[in-house]
């Protein structure tokens, strides 16, 4: 069992990387309910296996790897009709998402800045969908449009957010 100092160290690391780990799992499993289950499970395993973690090495990378195994386990248990992507593709996505996850805080700040720059109507749509967690059909009903049109509108908005985030990151890089 880890001693008190180790407990303190674990809590500090976990708190520090909490958002990055959460965003990682949400990227790999976009359904919030499933993602939350996986996150909880992962954190328990991290705590149980913390004595295997070497202080000074990359905690986030270790946590992501642990979470990835939980994602695979979860996918295997899930109903077949959910048609998840294969383990092989998930592993490739894991590599890509991990890379993005390493620049987590800078990305978060850039995204914040970019959301405030959105035209009001676009920001409202993003809020309905991701803040209020409304289903597409609900959003469509709310703005009196069709599901197809909402998907297209969201894609357009997210495209502009992406372009904006990349620009912000480049700017930041140039200043540093």
């Amino acid at each position: 069992m880890p001693d008190t100092d180790r407990t303190q160290e674990f809590l500090e690391l976990l708190t520090h990387h909490d958002r990055a780990l959460g965003v990682y799992v949400y990227s790999m499993v976009p359904q919030p309910h499933d993602a939350d289950d996986i996150l909880q499970q992962t954190k328990m395993i991290l705590w149980r296996c913390f004595d295997q973690f070497e202080t000074g090495t990359n905690f986030l990378a270790w946590a992501r790897k642990t979470a990835f195994h939980q994602v695979l386990t979860h996918r295997r248990h899930k109903k077949r009709e959910a048609m998840p992507l294969s383990d092989e593709i998930l592993e490739l996505l894991h590599d890509e998402v991990s890379r993005l996850s390493d620049s987590g805080d800078r990305r978060r700040d850039a995204l914040r800045a970019c959301v405030t720059k959105l035209p009001a109507a676009h920001r409202q749509l993003v809020t309905l969908r991701y803040y209020e967690d409304m289903e597409i059909d609900g959003v469509a009903e709310r703005i009196r449009s069709t599901a197809g049109a909402v998907y297209r509108a969201l894609s357009r908005i997210r495209m502009s957010l992406m372009t904006c985030v990349e620009k912000e990151l480049q700017l930041e890089g140039a200043e540093a």
Partner: protein, 471 residues
């Protein structure tokens, strides 16, 4: 990576998150992510951004704070009204348009080939006023007013502004939501103004046109000075577009589906086309299983499959064309046109590029099959116990030709043209000809894709068509 591909992947990522991708879309996505590193990186970025937006609310708190300080004292999400919702819709349309002079978006381009268009023709392209010339495929334009046009090749459309366009020639189906009331489509001899509805419109560069209203109300303004006509649901104006005598027998008007080309079309150069919807035409399929119901004739598709692994899953399509229009006239050439129907059954990954064979039934006594009683037990050129389940009985048919569908393709049309088909049609004596569609290619694993082709019962895609050139 092209913006259109990025846009497509973003939409896929969103629908993936909602678990709304079909098995086929999943397998196509898998293949793309495996093969294309750029697509993979972009898709991961899309998922990551989505996760950032939905995992925590930091972005929202900051955005809300800024909005609060600059404009409304109460954040809208606490008190949204129907009126405000309508304004949001309007705002989105308004914000998307105007700045760069664009007025519409090309939202779908299925298997499209374009001629000398003055506008960009990739999916997702924003369109300024200009000309679109579609040679093959199906394209969907969404005007910023909300009006959507489905162009059916061949068609030439001039985009004018968010509320106006001109159909120079060809066929389109328009769907106009309430906010785009008044959307108008000009043709050479008429102007069609839409009052919130869905309608089909065909026009030729010679001025002929036809309007058929599927829902709502449409105003047709003939430029010859005749009084404006108001057409309601089910209403139709046919200004010389199709010869009345060549029309299909009166169908069931109580269920108007999307407008399809007339059952007999005379393109004027000796070529005439009929679909299975004409006269005694019929289309259905059979499946190698005792359990299947015999109501395939009412399906909007025929299903075709070869499976040597699961013999009860073999399927063959049957088409019959009413040839009475060509009776006694010398036939020079013929072409069969089938429209691929996206199939929800099976995985495209397990079926390689496929070859299909089309056979003609030789014994004319067998042409009398009915859609309602075509079954595995009872079908032309067929024996329920035959060993080769995906093919007809070789002695009772003539091979008319073959066509290919590449792996993963689930849209578009396939054409079969040639002397064998023309000779077979010319040799007909009872004014009806039965064709059998078979897939020669087996699946490589269980649960392979079942191919499908639209039938006359299909609301969105064209029925099987036989084009015949008479002397």
């Amino acid at each position: 990576m092209k913006p259109a591909d990025q846009f497509r992947l973003l939409e896929l990522s969103e629908r993936y998150a909602d678990e709304k991708l079909s098995a086929m879309e999943i397998s196509a996505l898998e293949a793309e992510l495996r093969a294309d590193a750029d697509a993979r990186a972009f898709f991961a970025k899309a998922l990551h951004q989505r996760a950032e937006l939905s995992f925590d609310d930091s972005w929202h708190t900051q955005a809300a704070a800024e909005v609060k300080s600059t404009s409304k004292p109460i954040w809208w999400r606490h008190a949204i009204t129907a009126a405000a919702a309508a304004c949001i819709t309007f705002g989105i349309f308004w914000l998307q348009s105007g700045r760069d002079g664009t007025v519409a978006t090309l939202i779908r381009a299925q298997q499209c080939q374009w001629a000398g268009s003055s506008l960009p023709t990739v999916e997702g392209a924003r369109l300024k006023p200009g000309l679109l010339d579609l040679i093959e495929g199906l394209a969907v334009l969404r005007f910023d007013s909300g009006a959507e046009l489905v162009l059916e090749a061949p068609a030439t459309v001039e985009v004018l502004d968010a509320m106006n366009c001109k159909l120079r020639r060809g066929t389109l189906v328009a769907e106009v939501p309430p906010q785009a009331k008044g959307f108008s489509i000009d043709t050479k001899d008429a102007k069609v103004i839409d009052w919130g509805t869905k309608f089909g419109l065909s026009a030729g560069d010679d001025g002929k046109y036809m309007v058929q209203v599927l829902e709502g109300l449409v105003e047709v303004d003939d430029k010859s000075g005749a009084a404006t006509k108001k057409l309601e649901k089910g209403g139709k104006v046919d200004h010389g577009w199709s010869r009345s005598l060549l029309h299909p027998t009166a169908g069931d008007d109580s269920e108007p589906s999307r407008w399809q080309p007339a059952a007999v079309i005379d393109s004027g150069d000796g070529w005439q086309a009929i679909t299975t919807a004409f006269g005694r035409g019929k289309d259905s399929y059979i499946q190698s299983s005792d359990k299947t119901a015999g109501d395939f004739g009412a399906h909007p598709f025929i299903r075709v499959k070869r499976s040597d692994r699961k013999i009860e899953l073999n399927r063959k399509g049957y088409l019959a064309f009413d040839l009475s229009k060509f009776s006694g006239r010398p036939i020079e050439d013929a072409e069969l046109v089938l429209t691929i129907e996206p199939s929800e059954l099976g995985f495209a990954s397990f079926v390689p590029d496929s070859t299909f064979a089309v056979y003609g039934v030789l014994d004319e006594a067998e042409d009398s099959w009915e859609e309602s009683d075509l079954t595995w037990q009872h079908a032309p050129a067929h024996d329920p116990a035959q060993p080769q389940r995906n093919l007809p009985l070789a002695a009772k048919v003539k091979l008319l030709g073959k066509f290919e569908i590449a792996q993963g393709i689930n849209r578009g049309t396939r054409k079969l043209r040639g002397k064998d088909l023309a000779d077979f049609i010319a040799a007909d004596t009872n004014q009806i000809a039965t064709l059998i569609i078979c897939r020669e290619t087996d699946e490589t694993a269980d649960s392979g894709l079942v191919h499908a082709f639209a039938t006359k019962e299909n609301d969105t895609r064209s029925a099987p068509m036989l084009r015949v050139k008479v002397k």
